[in-house]
């Protein structure tokens, strides 16, 4: 609380500059990107009709991505791209403020924390991805969120902060296919080793872990696949493709 009061001036300036830059971006007519051609997201018709069933039977992506977009599509049938852009902008603003406080909690000078946060605000990539309806901005936010709450936990030793760390991690697993149960488990072991308090760790860990395991057991029962998504097949194939094609060309004498 003291941190917020002491830094209120800088935070207000950062929020003002964030809003100003976004108005300028709108003046440049930077538009929301229609991601309907992407393979990660459903067709809008699938989001409008039987969203929950479609999310349940989709193994291609982790469930929270299409669920979160689908809920907004259902709530705002015509204005959903604009609403998602506003939500993503708010998420990136919160991320910038979290970056600022994270640096303050690392005992950095206010001036340095302010200038680095400003550099992030001005970053054209941030503006670009706020208008790109997919997981990048939320993932960037969740990673910072995880670190900030860990800092708060290290300082105050409150279980709720540790719970927030694990919750951010579990949302990442259910939101982005690259973050897996194994990453979650490995991170949890690291936190257990570093911060020792096993009982508190297990309490904070339980609900996020149940959330992840629910998705895994669902996929195991419905698709006989252990994981949030089978996208790994495509990724591994891309990884091997160049080498494989070259070897094949060599063996064919090309």
């Amino acid at each position: 609380m003291n941190n917020i009061k002491e830094n209120s001036n800088n935070i207000v300036i950062l929020i003002f500059l964030f809003c100003l830059t976004r108005f300028i971006a709108d003046w440049f007519k930077v538009s929301t990107h229609d991601t309907q051609w992407l393979t990660q997201t459903f067709d809008i018709s699938l989001m409008r009709n039987g969203l929950l069933g479609n999310v349940f039977y989709d193994l291609y992506q982790a469930p929270l991505l299409n669920l979160s977009i689908g809920v907004i599509v259902k709530l705002f049938p015509s204005k959903w791209p604009a609403v998602i852009t506003i939500i993503l902008s708010i998420i990136s603003l919160i991320m910038v403020i979290e970056i600022y406080f994270s640096m303050i909690l690392f005992n950095l000078q206010k001036k340095i924390a302010f200038w680095i946060s400003l550099i992030v605000i001005l970053n054209p990539a941030l503006i670009y991805f706020e208008r790109y309806i997919i997981y990048h901005t939320p993932v960037a936010f969740l990673l910072v969120n995880m670190i900030l709450f860990l800092q708060l936990y290290a300082r105050d030793k409150k279980t709720i902060y540790l719970f927030m760390v694990y919750l951010s991690m579990s949302i990442l697993v259910c939101y982005r296919t690259s973050f897996t149960l194994y990453w979650f488990a490995f991170s949890a072991v690291i936190l257990l080793i570093l911060f020792k308090n096993y009982k508190r760790n297990l309490i904070a860990l339980s609900f996020p872990l149940i959330l992840i395991l629910t998705v895994h057991f669902k996929n195991q029962i419905v698709f006989k696949y252990w994981g949030t998504s089978n996208m790994i097949g495509n990724n591994l194939a891309s990884f091997y493709l160049l080498c494989f094609k070259r070897n094949k060309a060599k063996s064919n004498g090309e």
């Binding site: 393979t39 680095i116 054209p124 690291i190 790994i232 091997y240």
Partner: protein
């Protein structure tokens, strides 16, 4: 995968239009009864690059996964080559994947000024350059080695970035050894740093391996962690 060979899908490529030539194969797939009347499994995608069904997509992915597992066992050298190429691709400018080129053109000058002032970029990327997605056309998948990942925006050569990251890694190693020797790693800040670096490293490795040269969007997700790490470089006494 049949008779210990990779599938036809694998040999033609992944997620490109060549898959259309395997329509007869795909059509043979029968959607199980339990999945009938589920939109996501029975409706073809209208706007997707490949017009196949979600259920078929599952089948393709499972096939690709079993192919990859087979290749990992049979041709481990491919794994090493792919790993090196993956890391190389991670540092390439822009990558092959530009989602909304119109937006990039609209913020061109913003990006240009930002890259010069903040990143120290020498040469701006030209969005009108053809071919704009050269990665799939190049036999090695390489363009030019030019950018490090701080400039996850859309920049090209940046010596400021290169020096900043060389400095960061040097600083991390020297400080890391010092912290470890004096057992200061038990301090709270350092515990958080260990966790932060673990996640940063995990993300870097996963996306350099599995990112399939889509470095532009994948590097972006580290923007917050990078900002915090860069901030720490300005801290006089890290412990």
């Amino acid at each position: 995968m049949e008779n210990n060979e990779v599938s036809k899908i694998y040999s033609v490529g992944v997620w490109n239009n060549d898959l259309d030539s395997f329509k007869p194969y795909l059509k043979d797939t029968i959607i199980p009864n339990q999945f009938k009347n589920v939109g996501v499994l029975t409706n073809p995608r209208s706007g997707a690059q490949i017009s196949h069904y979600h259920y078929l997509k599952h089948e393709i992915l499972n096939t690709l996964l079993s192919d990859s597992k087979y290749l990992i066992m049979k041709e481990p050298i491919c794994l090493m080559k792919g790993f090196v190429w993956g890391i190389y691709g991670y540092f390439l400018p822009q990558g092959d994947y530009v989602a909304h080129i119109e937006n990039l053109k609209k913020i061109f000058w913003w990006n240009y000024i930002y890259n010069i002032c903040i990143i120290g970029q020498i040469k701006p990327i030209k969005y009108d350059e053809e071919p704009f997605m050269p990665i799939y056309n190049s036999p090695t998948g390489a363009i030019t080695f030019s950018e490090l990942f701080l400039s996850m925006q859309f920049a090209r050569v940046s010596w400021v970035t290169v020096l900043a990251y060389i400095g960061m890694f040097w600083f991390s190693i020297v400080k890391g050894i010092e912290i470890w020797k004096t057992r200061q790693h038990l301090a709270n800040d350092n515990k958080i740093l260990i966790f932060l670096f673990f996640n940063f490293g995990f993300y870097f490795l996963i996306y350099s391996i599995l990112g399939s040269f889509e470095n532009n969007r994948l590097r972006f997700e580290l923007i917050g962690l990078e900002a915090i790490i860069i901030g720490l470089l300005f801290k006089k006494n890290i412990t």
